[in-house]
């Protein structure tokens, strides 16, 4: 491991809970529906988190617990049964229904797995009912996807075919692009998880090699391993280097000849590096502070420091999986400070003290920092934007150079001021 300093911090946090991942999962699997079993707060949360970005025809909803549901748990199960049947009667096109646990449903111990089991028996295959927790007492932001994928794994059919499985939600265009590169390398059998239709689950077995596309899939990776799959160790496909190493790792494990790998990737690499240049010019030497939110912070910091020349002040991450992150941490510049967890007030004090040029943060904190004269980038954009892969490296860099360019245009004489 490199000389990164790993610290832990606890205190008040400012991070989305796992329910928020519904906002991208429901777009990935249009035949699925996400029913949060929770409170009015949960309903308000997904409405607000989704509503400020897009208004989609929702494939998510909330079964709001009311006073009488708290009184008797047996009744809560019956009530949930009723609500689900109502929903399915109105939305017969739903093929997979996720019952998503929340803080209140966890605290009062509504057994969603039992409700799901009973419903599956009753509905006889008309729809598959699954459950996972997106509660804020258990999960942060992207961990919701981890939970949803983990819930799907038991349904994956068995297979002895040799294949590459890309795991983690990607933008469709990026996914198509990555698959075509693997095909060119000679890896023909490439599937993805989650699939674009919840019912078309990829099969899995001892000959399945798993390449994680997202760093937050701790439980999913473990479960896939338990199913016999092999997890390919690699950095994550962000930036030219990360994506190259990621593709190479897969190619190596499929025994592809180095000369073939080079002949296919080298042109992509040199083109991507050229496209990066204007952004590197803007980003180089600028100070970056990453607040914890998406668990993408470490790969992002690695890319922005190694390939864009940014100076990393601190990398906040809500949760640090040292195994999955090992390859990433090894690539970080020495003496990088990684802080797991958060005390939001103290961390913001450190932000102000270090006067960074750019802060990567959650939605609630962005405008207050902008008002203090600090440019920001929303973490959530990284889970919505097509940023993975060699070809996307300059688009990824552009997400960070844009706020700096804007700052320069709008404040030609001013550097940093607080108000």
């Amino acid at each position: 491991m490199s000389g990164a300093t790993l610290l832990k911090e606890s205190g008040p946090k400012e991070v989305f809970c796992g329910l928020t991942s519904i906002v991208w999962l429901h777009r990935r699997m249009p035949d699925a529906f996400f029913l949060v079993v929770g409170s009015r707060t949960c309903a308000h949360l997904i409405q607000s988190a989704a509503g400020v970005m897009i208004f989609a025809e929702p494939r998510f909803g909330t079964a709001i617990l009311e006073e009488r549901d708290l009184a008797g748990l047996a009744d809560a199960h019956d009530e949930l049964n009723r609500v689900v049947k109502n929903l399915l009667a109105r939305r017969p096109e739903i093929k997979t229904l996720f019952l998503v646990g929340s803080c209140p449903s966890e605290v009062i111990k509504i057994d969603l797995s039992r409700v799901a089991e009973n419903l599956n028996i009753e509905l006889k295959g008309q729809v598959t009912v699954l459950n996972y927790s997106g509660s804020g007492i258990e999960t942060t932001f992207t961990q919701g996807e981890d939970g949803a994928l983990k819930a799907l794994i038991p349904l994956m059919p068995k297979s002895d075919q040799k294949k590459l499985l890309l795991v983690g939600t990607l933008a469709n265009a990026v996914e198509d692009r990555l698959i075509s590169i693997f095909n060119r390398l000679g890896i023909d059998n490439v599937e993805s998880f989650p699939p674009r239709q919840s019912t078309e689950l990829p099969s899995i077995g001892p000959e399945t090699k798993v390449l994680l596309t997202q760093p937050y899939l701790t439980d999913t990776a473990r479960e896939l391993k338990n199913k016999g799959a092999e997890i390919i160790e690699a950095p994550f496909p962000l930036g030219v280097t990360g994506s190259t190493l990621w593709i190479q790792a897969a190619a190596n494990s499929f025994g592809i000849d180095k000369s073939i790998i080079d002949s296919i990737l080298n042109p992509l690499i040199s083109r991507a590096k050229k496209a990066l240049e204007p952004h590197v010019e803007k980003l180089s030497g600028k100070k970056l502070f990453l607040l914890p939110e998406s668990q993408l912070e470490i790969p992002l910091a690695r890319f922005l420091s190694n390939e864009c020349g940014m100076e990393i002040v601190e990398i906040g991450t809500p949760y640090l999986n040292r195994d999955l992150m090992k390859a990433e941490i090894d690539l970080l510049p020495p003496d990088c400070r990684i802080v797991e967890g958060q005390h939001v007030e103290k961390q913001l004090d450190r932000v102000r003290d270090s006067s960074p040029d750019l802060v990567v943060c959650g939605m609630g904190l962005a405008n207050p920092l902008e008002a203090e004269g600090i440019s920001t980038k929303w973490s959530i954009e990284m889970v919505f934007s097509p940023i993975h892969g060699i070809d996307q490296a300059s688009d990824l860099a552009e997400l960070f150079s844009r706020p700096l360019r804007r700052h320069d245009i709008l404040n030609p004489t001013k550097t940093l001021t607080s108000n």
Binding site: S39, P104, V107
Partner: protein, 525 residues
């Protein structure tokens, strides 16, 4: 258990946050798990504020539940008081914390701070946002003023000064509250009335202590301030006004009521028609075409009630639906609807509202952001008149709803989505010109364009809630469709629905050219 895809109000602690964030030098410790911090973005993104809400979340986690969450709460309270040094502290809990029963309010009170501590009990599983806001404001005022003596104060006449009033109820995330306050201050200034305290918006706890210095309370937003006004009247003998100055007539009535309570003579100028442009604009010839436009109204109680009056009395619309999601306001909305010959729709289910819109086929919807989506699906113009807030409802320009200028803004906001006289007339005259073939309609044409009619219909069909298209429905013949396509796009949707209704009533299985004219005659008759 209630199934919802969209909710008009957040939970009650969001109401409390609206009060805390509206005020200054106040801090709110909220016992809540990590995810509840999403609420910050309501203020920093939707309202685009440059500072974080003054809220410390305890962010307890599952692993804390086995241990001593009470100690965790105390730690956060101490840290918040040390760091933010507030004049008063609010302590409360969100839905999850309510279940673990730590009673953070009493914990805080036992910690020996020398600032007032307001303990909030906001039942998350039975109450909602506006109730939470109202209760929080009431508890703050009550806690800070409970020892204030009820002694008989001198009137403004006796003290030989200008009369003073408080403006109560405006909050952040309230519909155009920021501008309403400015407009009402300006209005009162014109009539020689001073504003003593505005609360909660912009008030500190010290300002709350100055509330008793006013002669009258102006209850601007009953959802938030009514219970506080009632308490202040009972306990400190401060009377309050009940008319909300939304629209020309209501602004006049408000000024009359206020003058009466203050025992001032009502100036002649109150009744002058040139105070607002709305009066002349709706008398101008263009507005002929507004007469009798069928309008459906839904929103919070205050804005829905005001909209009904303005629509009916000041613009000459026909109100065909009136409702609110504020159950607390149902008592006022029901008789207002009855006076218009309607039954009020009191619901927090937007699907029910959408059905009611469909049923009444209005030409304009005045609603919330959700009705804007429903109206769009149905191809009906819509103006937003009420919370819940969307970033669009926080415009950069000055855009009040109250007072004379508010009436001007309302005229523009409501009428722009509609076709005005000259424009409607010209479209009627030139509809056969080649510029007007389908696909080249104006920017107003929700139903414009060849594809759109179909897309709209598709949208209605695929919409989960929709049950309009059933097997027993009449079928349009080719001739029927052809004749329908000759009808101007902006009334085509209504004609389609009317004709289908007629056909159903008349038992027609098919709609042809003749059925269309039969239906036309039927509805005109």
């Amino acid at each position: 258990m209630e199934l919802t895809l969209w909710t008009y109000e957040g939970p009650p602690h969001i109401g409390a946050m609206r009060i805390a964030t509206s005020m200054k030098k106040l801090h709110y410790v909220l016992h809540a798990p990590q995810g509840d911090t999403y609420a910050d973005l309501l203020f920093t993104m939707i309202e685009r504020r440059g500072s974080r809400p003054p809220v410390t979340y305890t962010t307890f986690q599952a692993r804390d539940l086995g241990g001593d969450t009470a100690e965790l709460v105390k730690g956060h309270i101490k840290e918040a008081v040390d760091r933010f040094n507030p004049e008063a502290l609010l302590v409360g809990e969100s839905c999850t914390a309510e279940l673990i029963q730590d009673q953070p309010g009493s914990l805080a009170k036992g910690m020996g701070f020398d600032i007032p501590i307001v303990s909030l009990e906001l039942p998350a599983y039975s109450k909602k946002e506006n109730w939470g806001g109202s209760e929080t404001f009431y508890q703050i005022v009550r806690t800070l003023l409970k020892d204030h003596s009820k002694e008989l104060k001198q009137t403004w006449q006796e003290e030989k000064r200008r009369p003073r009033v408080n403006l109560l109820g405006p909050t952040l995330l309230g519909f155009r509250c920021r501008d309403d306050v400015l407009e009402i201050q300006k209005l009162l200034g014109q009539y020689g009335i001073d504003v003593n305290v505005v609360a909660p918006l912009g008030a500190s706890p010290a300002d709350i202590l100055r509330i008793p210095n006013a002669d009258v309370n102006v209850c601007l937003y009953p959802e938030i301030a009514e219970s506080t006004c009632i308490w202040l009247e009972r306990n400190l003998n401060i009377p309050f006004t009940t008319t909300v100055p939304l629209g020309v007539g209501a602004t006049q009535d408000f000024l009359k009521e206020l003058h009466k309570v203050l025992e001032m003579e009502i100036p002649q100028s109150v009744n002058e028609s040139n105070n607002s442009k709305l009066t002349w604009y709706s008398n101008s010839v263009d507005s002929n075409y507004l007469t009798g436009k069928r309008v459906f109204i839904f929103g919070d109680g205050t804005h829905a009630l005001a909209a009904a009056r303005i629509a009916n009395e000041e613009l000459g619309f026909k109100v065909v639906g009136l409702g609110t999601y504020s159950r607390e306001m149902a008592r006022k909305v029901r008789p207002a609807a009855k006076a218009l010959g309607l039954e009020a729709l009191i619901t927090n289910d937007y699907l029910e509202v959408e059905d009611a819109i469909k049923e009444t086929s209005p030409e304009l919807v005045l609603g919330t952001q959700m009705e804007r989506h429903s109206a769009k699906r149905l191809g009906i113009p819509c103006a937003v008149i009420s919370t819940p807030m969307h970033v669009q409802d926080v415009p950069a320009r000055y855009s009040p709803q109250m007072g004379w200028e508010g009436a001007n803004v309302i005229f523009d906001d409501w009428v722009h989505p509609l076709m005005m006289g000259l424009e409607e007339h010209l479209i009627g005259m030139f509809k056969h010109d080649f510029e007007f073939v389908d696909g080249h309609q104006s920017h107003l044409g929700h139903l414009g364009g060849k594809g759109n009619q179909n897309t709209n219909k598709e949208a209605i069909k695929t919409n989960l809630q929709d049950s309009v298209i059933t097997d027993g429905d009449p079928i349009w013949t080719h001739e029927g469709e052809k004749e329908l396509s000759k009808i101007p796009f902006f009334v085509r949707g209504k004609v389609r629905r009317n004709t289908e209704n007629y056909a159903r009533q008349a038992g027609c299985r098919e709609i042809n050219e003749e059925t269309l004219y039969d239906a036309k005659a039927h509805y005109k008759a």
